[in-house]
Amino acid sequence: MDIEVRRGEVLGLLGPNGAGKTTTVRLLTALIEPSEGTASVDGFDVREQADAVRARVGILTETPGLYDKLEATANLDFFGRLYGLDAAVRAERIERYLRLFGLWDRRHDVAGTFSKGMKQKLAIARALLHDPSVIFLDEPTAALDPEAAFVVRDAIETLRRGGRTIVLATHNLDEADRLCDRIAFVRGGLLRVDSPARLRGALGVRGLTVRLATPAADAETATILALPGVAAAERTGAGLRIATDDPEALAPAVVRALVAAGAEIVEVRVEHTSLEQIYFDVMGVRPGAEVGD
């Protein structure tokens, strides 16, 4: 894996279970030592300057790992002390982050009484307490219900808007698509890295889907194929699927041509390849088939 994360960037590490996402996060947070190779965070080598790296990174582990019998403030205060923050700084930051994530009113409650989403937010607050240069979020919404996952994604979005450098390990494609500036596909190494838009541009298939009131006739298909910019057109039930590099530009011409040919149009839709499809392509897997088939 050879990759550089820019300051203020949100990088997604995307891959199946066992791909090496958590190992990568643990290496970059100096939790484990690399068996070979080098890595540095904020200019500090993870092997030679592990303490300096640990002081500069914040991590949200797969599970929140909170102390259930301690209050929200006590949980944060404990970590503030471990990071060597003085009392005034601890108090100010604890209040700031509990307010930011909407937990201030529950500050005196023990963490064991929190919902999963609240625990995850408290764990994110813990990761931010020492004002780290880089935040590593390992599966932040795994095992959360949709409502809790929404709350956590909203919290991550807040960090993103604040210009934080974030490395987000996930296998949630929608999450990566929405939150990340670039996505790194990982499976035992780095397979590909790029922005979601560029991945779609480079790997995706784009086109138009036209639904008609009655099945398309041969003449209508031929008319569409004759239009400039159309790579292919095929009949699908009561409509047509048209392959093109620029579906938005082609759509008006398609509508005009079909209406002129006497077709009755029910719907025209611009199609993008989903990130899910791109993921399968990059990983070299087919849904429902064993990896490596």
Partner: protein, 262 residues
């Protein structure tokens, strides 16, 4: 090793211990029983004497008790048996705390964020070890003070001398901490391998077997261990504990905790 970090870990451990009712009950209840039991026992054996053979064996071991009345001798022999409880307390209390602490963190997966902080494994282990050791020692010592007062009150001033003689002081203040340290080490080693605190305590409880051996030997009256014996035992137990600590530190390795502790 930074004292501030060790203290931070120790402080959090104690707060959590104080909020764990089950754990707290195992720390508080036995010492209370041990301070009440001698009074009840004293009421029953106060006017009794030892069987002649046992009395002869005890006096052979403790010639300084020859001036005691038969009743005082019976009392002295009885209270002598309680010394073992002041060795059991520093054995089982740290074991309970250490196993609850380490396995509790394993189950909650709360060690990873701690290890991600700029602290050293030795600081973490030291905080946990001291947090487990001190309550057992304090409970044992506090109970001892109450026990001495009660023993003097119930059995008379001669018995005060018995429970404060050098063998008791060596047992409580030298062997007790040594047993406590070995108990913490046993807790660390066992907790690294199992995921249930009760199982860890059962396995770690093996440490109590030699102490039970001391009870059995003393109960026969054939050998009453003296100050030199307890001091020697304290040295041997401390040496074994320090050797075990090296194993414990290796098991507490950052990478092992993250990759193998499940």
């Amino acid at each position: 090793m930074r004292a501030g970090i060790v203290w931070t870990i120790l402080r959090r451990e104690w707060i959590e211990t104080l909020r764990n009712r089950l754990l707290l009950s195992t720390i508080v209840i036995p010492p209370v029983i041990l301070t009440v039991a001698p009074i009840i026992l004293g009421a029953f054996i106060g006017e009794r004497s030892l069987p002649p053979e046992l009395e002869a064996a005890v006096l052979q071991q403790r010639p300084e008790w020859a001036a005691f009345t038969a009743s005082e001798l019976a009392g002295a022999f009885a209270v002598q048996q309680f010394l073992v409880f002041f060795l059991l307390m520093p054995a089982y209390i740290p074991l309970s705390i250490a196993t609850f602490s380490i396995i509790g963190e394993k189950q909650a997966r709360s060690l990873e964020p701690v290890l991600a902080a700029p602290i050293r494994t030795g600081e973490l282990l030291a905080g946990k070890a001291v947090a487990a050791l001190v309550p057992g020692l304090l409970a044992g010592w506090a109970t001892y003070v109450v026990f001495v007062l009660l023993a003097s009150l119930v059995y008379g001033p001669n018995l005060f001398g018995v429970v404060t003689d050098p063998s008791w002081l060596a047992g409580v203040f030298l062997l007790g901490p040594a047993v406590g340290l070995s108990s913490v080490v046993a807790g660390v080693i066992v907790s690294a391998r199992v995921n249930d605190p009760r199982v860890a305590q059962q396995i770690g409880g093996v440490i109590i077997v030699p102490i039970v051996g001391i009870v059995l030997i003393q109960a026969t009256g054939t050998v009453l261990v003296g100050a030199a014996g307890y001091t020697l035992m304290a040295i041997v137990v401390t040496a074994i504990a320090l050797f075990g600590l090296r194993i414990g530190i290796r098991l507490f390795d950052r990478e092992a905790i993250l990759t193998r502790w499940r």
